[in-house]
Symmetry: C2
């Protein structure tokens, strides 16, 4: 079943050419190696220690060629994709300001040449918060970019690091979206032994959940109430735990948390992709945060990451899940909101071209 | 709002007197210390390194006196509680067979004297799988016990350790329920700085989720299809991630996982308490696993753990959440299933006494 409407995909990744060159020149993870006549990308923690033939993932032009992105979109009735550089971004560079600027300009060029099919999120030299704030100012001047994607480590101390306040202030001032995405996994030591599946399935959402919780409990959304943030993979698992978090904070008489509102109320101010894989997850997310905060996504071309010689096609999971969740929760009139209406409004996407 | 029906509480904890004595005699965590004229219990990782006055939690007779348990039950229209020893059980003892037998006999004595108000789950000398299997045989002969509670570490290598197969075989053979409960937290390093709230709210469900996922992916439920297992706190977060887990396993061409069915299908064979804190969580769980696998619980007297000089009353969260979730999902006729009907059938509880 393909998408019944011309969708906007807000979670779609690229590795821009300049980024690929950067990874090819490296000799530690993240890096790209040639193996058996094929480029393989090693980005996950510990992947370079894996001596099996399955090390890393094959990486081909689906990761950087806009024609292949658009062919995928055509096949699944995706009108527009908001493409973002994939993990691990520039987390591994301390002084990434200049390369971030160059890659963001490349992203703008690529989107501008797409005939209205591609918009983008840039990346930030996040280990340097001042440079990141300045880069957001530049992104605001690039007509096809709508914000930036970041990981969960910030400048090295997590997203609740006060040093990042200048980044949030810049994003708020420019009305840009910050897309928070996992990369490292959390709890990996307890998930080992079953391939990368458990890291991706559980460690990624655990990581996202911890990062967003730190942002909430640290008061970022009290200090920057206009900060727009989109959380990957249907919010990690914070939606399922939202009221448990409220109860645990309320029940701790010695809590250092000082917020204006209950922790879960900030969750309802975030944005989410619809990458939940099942209708029950999306129905829950909808009932908790409202249909107007959820936007269709595919995670293309990543998912599934390790199938070789197969068409990577995460859309098979996500469009039907959205469809069933909407039907279950809100009736058919809400489907268009998730598939394109919300993204049009929230990210100022023009579908008329 | 209190429970509208005479409920059965399947998640209610005690520290039996013999267990208290064991902890008083210890000088490392887990232990009980006297401080400011009050006993305080230190059970969480790192609690003994906390030098603030909030170290540990005050522990009084609500943790061991059946009269106080029953007073709590009376106040909230709870007809029967299935009490279980609280964490960390006997995880810290390598040779816990004899003390497990004694404590389980104490549990039986306590329940037998309650006039039909208390049933129990025993504990196991889990670091010794053979002794644990033998102890399950003894538990099966104790008329008020219905199974045993365990943590997530098993004999030290997690719940997918093949050495535990004899434990699962014994539980299956005797028709006993195994209640899997968190204690250590997972991802704690990424959750620090906000008191114990984040460990309890997030680290506990992460830990539970990793443990149950390992059991599923390791094939325990293929080898022991009759194994009855109840997962604490509405299943951790595995329900929210169930289809993502399926997709990640299916998408890994090098996966070592060899199961008869999709991972999520095993989730639907487990039992769950209703400790989700919000109607949206329970509605999702119901839609995923069916109302007949969910049983009311309170986590009494633990929650909230750190409020001093306050009435501990987790029922305030759980009864209304069940009520609203059931109304939302299935209509009022299903409420009795969660509040007592399922527990009556699944745990053979007689409400007529």
């Amino acid at each position: 079943m393909s998408a019944p409407l011309a969708a906007i995909d807000v979670h779609s990744h690229v590795y821009p050419g300049r980024y690929m060159s950067l990874l090819r020149a490296r000799d530690t993870v993240p890096r790209i190696v040639a193996r058996g006549g094929q480029d393989r990308m090693l980005i996950l923690p510990g992947e370079d220690a894996d001596s099996s033939t399955s090390v890393g993932r094959p990486i081909g032009s689906e990761y950087w060629d806009p024609a292949r992105k658009i062919a995928f979109m055509d096949r699944h009735a995706i009108a527009v994709s908001v493409i973002s550089p994939a993990n691990p971004w520039l987390d591994f560079l301390a002084d990434a300001g200049p390369v971030a600027t160059e890659i963001n300009e490349d992203m703008e060029t690529l989107c501008a040449a797409s005939g209205g099919r591609l918009y983008g999120l840039g990346l930030l030299p996040i280990r340097d918060p001042a440079a990141s704030a300045a880069e957001l100012g530049r992104i605001a001047g690039l007509p096809h970019l709508r914000g930036a994607v970041i990981g969960t480590t910030g400048a090295g101390k997590g997203l609740d690091d006060p040093a990042l306040d200048q980044v949030w202030a810049a994003a708020e001032r420019h009305g840009l979206m910050i897309f928070v995405h996992p990369h490292y996994g959390l709890g990996n030591e307890a998930l080992a032994g079953y391939g990368h599946a458990t890291l991706l399935a559980l460690g990624f959402p655990f990581e996202t959940t911890a990062a967003i919780t730190r942002l909430i409990l640290g008061g970022a959304f009290d200090r920057f109430p206009g900060l727009r943030m989109m959380v990957a993979h249907a919010g990690g698992v914070l939606p399922y735990l939202a009221a448990r978090l409220d109860a645990c904070v309320a029940g701790d008489a010695h809590s250092p948390v000082r917020l204006r509102h209950e922790p879960s109320s900030y969750l309802r101010g975030l944005y989410f992709d619809a990458i939940g894989y099942q209708a029950a997850t999306l129905a829950m997310l909808m009932s908790l945060v409202g249909v107007e905060r959820i936007m269709f996504g595919t995670d293309h071309p990543f998912f599934p990451p390790h199938v070789e010689n197969a068409e990577l096609d995460s859309t098979e999971w996500h469009s039907p899940a959205v469809h069933r969740a909407v039907l279950r929760e809100l009736g058919p009139q809400a489907e268009i909101a998730i598939l394109n209406g919300n993204a049009k409004a929230i990210l100022c996407i023009d579908l008329s071209t």
